[in-house]
């Protein structure tokens, strides 16, 4: 489905928790501590499975939100707070948010004394070191974020890649060992390859969580995570079905300022369609009273969810996902043609197809309006409705034969079909001939990232990994890191512009945060005006929850998903 599978990365950005109605605070807007009690069973009923529970393989927003709050603690984390306050990083396993060297290449943390694994043993520096090393074993531990490979000071091989293949193969182990020091079991020192001013933000990702070496089961760890959080897996966890979490008896509440762990049990179930999930929540029968979901309301349910009957059980949030089109610069080398595509697009109709203002708003920028790097601008002087006539004029001026044929690839489901239909209609008014290619969502990114199979125009969706433009522009627009003979990586437009690449390098080395964000904004405008990227919509997630749920909070830093740290059922 949309948010879990189709997104390229987890989301962690500043947002506003908007009330679904008129801003009054009903049951759903209590802050933590207001009337929650321990006990009971919480149900999480979500359409798309959390593909990987293995912390080093978490890359989807909802799986990250889940793991971080239940099974895999990290040195630092985001607090369960409302709105932008959730992005102010706090210490979790570490005693503070770390000490950095002047050049921001060395980071030191102390580990709290009473953080325990589910068998009672203490969490140590060695555990963190081992966990992070697993990211390098990309053949077995795959699909996770690869920041460790880039940031840690591990020797490089001839191709510029890290010369370490993980703890299973062990070649290059000595090189890796030097990048993380354990001067004491409760002290950890990171040596980075280049300055990273906000490394404490990077450490919030479960990819940097600890893993006990003697409990590691490689590819099977997805269903047998050994926990250092307030809960642990009971019995069998099935990656496509779900499972049950019970309390971790060795979790020490005083060591954890973030997680309240109110429910005694958490039962997770995957597989119902979004429509069925919302039917159940609406009916509020049986276990639905104690249910939350990380599936956003599907279009058919929006009117009911926002209706008077359910408004005190609903909440919505700008979750930071930006829908956009990539125009492949190799297949559409003429800049004017690309600009014509951008001018023809009717963003308002696109938003309508997705469900209207309840689930999104038109945007012109690749950077989410919630980031500091955001600037509002109109690249081509057409409103949000687009201007097919103007686009046609530009196309004719380009001197190409009309109708100009393009293929449009997107991840197929009923809503996406409708959105694609409106885009096709817009473009055909401007003189294009559009073939729609709705692809199977499960294999969507494999296909569109394959240079041989990708089309002229491709749909995608992205949210920043943490609240900075540096997790939007470099991962998506730096051709050097993304493009190889067999794949385009995340750079679906096959964009590899020398000026942009140099500008990215320059921006990354800036130590002044404000200047850095301005640099990202400038690059965003440059790329969009080149017609390479056509931003469409800033996504809003809309959720319903059971009538028994207390302390419901959507955490903007964790992709706008429900924060299990403070939810209670009694």
């Amino acid at each position: 489905m949309r948010l879990a599978k189709a997104c390229l990365a987890g989301g962690a950005i500043a947002a506003l928790v908007l009330s679904a109605c008129t801003g009054k605070s009903g049951k759903g807007h209590e802050t933590a501590g207001a009337g929650q009690h321990g006990g009971g069973t919480l149900y999480v009923n979500t359409s798309r499975a959390y593909t990987h529970l293995d912390p080093q393989r978490n890359y989807f927003g909802d799986a990250i939100a889940f793991d971080s709050r239940t099974l895999a603690r990290t040195l630092t984390t985001f607090p369960p707070a409302e709105g932008t306050k959730s992005t102010d990083v706090v210490a979790d396993v570490a005693t503070d948010t770390g000490t950095r060297s002047a050049d921001a290449k060395t980071w030191t943390f102390s580990i709290k004394p009473d953080v325990k694994w589910q068998d009672g043993k203490a969490v140590t520096c060695a555990d963190f070191k081992y966990g992070i090393s697993r990211t390098f074993a990309t053949d077995i531990i795959e699909s996770g974020p690869l920041y460790a490979l880039d940031y840690l000071a591990v020797p490089r091989d001839a191709n510029g890649q890290a010369a370490y293949d993980g703890p299973y193969k062990k070649n290059g182990q000595a090189g890796f060992d030097k990048s993380i020091d354990c001067p004491a079991p409760n002290k950890i020192v990171f040596h980075l390859r280049h300055p990273v001013a906000d490394f404490y933000e990077t450490l919030t990702m479960p990819a940097f969580a600890a893993v006990r070496q003697d409990k590691d089961t490689g590819a099977k760890y997805d269903s047998s995570v050994f926990s250092d959080g307030p809960y642990m897996i009971e019995g069998k966890w099935e990656p496509t079905r779900g499972g049950t979490l019970v309390r971790n008896p060795n979790w020490v509440a005083s060591s954890d300022t973030v997680r309240k762990a109110y429910p005694d049990k958490i039962v997770v179930a995957f597989g119902d369609t979004a429509d069925t999930v919302y039917q159940k929540l609406e009916s509020d029968n049986g276990t639905a009273t104690n249910t939350v979901t990380t599936t956003s309301a599907p279009p058919a349910a929006i009117a009911t969810v926002l209706g008077p009957r359910l408004q005190n059980r609903s909440a919505s949030v700008d979750d930071g996902y930006i829908h956009y089109l990539s125009v492949n610069v190799v297949k559409v080398p003429d800049k004017q043609v690309r600009q014509a595509i951008a001018m023809a697009v009717n963003r308002t109709a696109y938003v309508t197809a997705w469900g209207g203002s309840a689930v999104g708003s038109p945007t012109n920028s690749w950077i989410s309006p919630l980031l500091k790097a955001y600037t509002k601008y109109d690249p081509f002087g057409v409103s949000d409705n687009g201007d097919p006539a103007k686009a046609k004029a530009v196309l004719q001026a380009a001197g190409v034969k009309l109708p100009y044929p393009i293929r449009f690839q997107y991840s197929k489901d009923n809503t996406q079909d409708k959105a694609a239909t409106t885009l096709k209609s817009d473009l055909e008014q401007a003189g294009f001939k559009v073939t729609l290619d709705g692809l199977n969502p499960d294999t969507y990114y494999d296909i569109v990232a394959n240079p041989k199979q990708t089309a002229e125009v491709t749909w995608a969706r992205w949210a920043a990994d943490w609240p900075s433009g540096s997790t939007v522009i470099p991962p998506l627009a730096d051709g050097r890191a993304n493009i190889s003979q067999d794949t385009l990586g995340n750079d679906l437009a096959a964009y590899n512009d020398p000026y942009t690449n140099k500008a990215i390098d320059a921006a990354l080395s800036l130590t002044d945060a404000a200047a850095q964000q301005q640099a990202w904004s400038a690059l965003d405008q440059r790329i969009v005006k080149d017609g390479v990227i056509i931003p469409l919509m800033a996504n809003k997630a809309l959720y319903l929850y059971g009538s028994n749920i207390k302390g419901f909070l959507l955490n903007a830093a964790f992709g706008g998903f429900v924060d299990l740290a403070v939810v209670a059922v009694q």
């Binding site: 053949d139 099977k220 990656p239 029968n285 494999d446």
Partner: protein, 337 residues
Amino acid sequence: MLAYVVRRTIAIVIMLFAISVLTYLLFFAIPRDPARLTCGKVCTPELISQNRHALGLDRSIAVQYGDFLKGLVVSRDFPDDAELARTHPELIIHCHAPCLGYSPSQQTTINNVMGRAAPVTVTLTAGAFVLWMVVGVGLGVVSAVRRGSVVDKLLLGVSLIGYSFPTFFVGLILYDIVSVKYGLLPSPGYVSPAHDVGGWVSGMLAPWITLALAYTALYVRLTRAKMLDSMAGEYIRTARAKGVRAHRVVLKHGLRASLPPIITIAGLDIAGVLGATAITESVFNLDGIGKTVISAVQEADLPIILVGVLICATVVVVMNFVVDLLYAAIDPRVRYT
């Protein structure tokens, strides 16, 4: 009789063998590379070929088929890498004979996958079967006995309408509206009877009704047709002429004469219901064999699709065999064909 059974058994074995070869050949024309499934967004060609080698997918079709057959009697390891077995035995997945293969998308042996799925499908099919036979045949008898009456016309009409609704449509209505919204049916889901028999039955009610609906309609009509045929027979007229009471005539003679063909046809229909079973499992989110195959198709998980198709074909062949035996037991003429 014994000679007939032996002959048919040999024919079945040959048929199963032919089916497995045909299935393997058919599916190996798929251009999609299942090894790609084992790596995520950071697929590199080395990774893919590494994984393909580990899964044994870089060998020829004949060798893979041979491995599959061998796996039915000898246990297999995935990945089949002696080096890795020595250094990291916990990363090897061991598949006991009869081993059906390894699923890249579920990352476990197909035995595990099908082992979990089979009870669900069996429960769904068997329960629906009982439901449609009892209700369908029962109502069919009523309809035949009251031929031409309002009841008969009503039953026929409702059956035809019931048969005209696509299974997924009925299922979605029963799930989202009847069960979830109005709470008129218990919440669907599979619970193992070992844990909770009550939950097992109640959780399957909506799926059973969905699957049985179309077939109930058919069996009303079938029973009625067969009953009418047999009730028109000479010996019925004789019985009536002899003064045997009407309902005795119906039940003792009419129904008894109709039942053998009805039951044998039902045996064949069980095999034919597999498609509708898959749809029902999909709608109600029940992890049976059908849903597993459908998910496998979306993930292009070849090994599961293959085994799923083989299982379905085997069921069909076996049911046909059972029906043939029943026929041979009833009708001696058949044994000499």
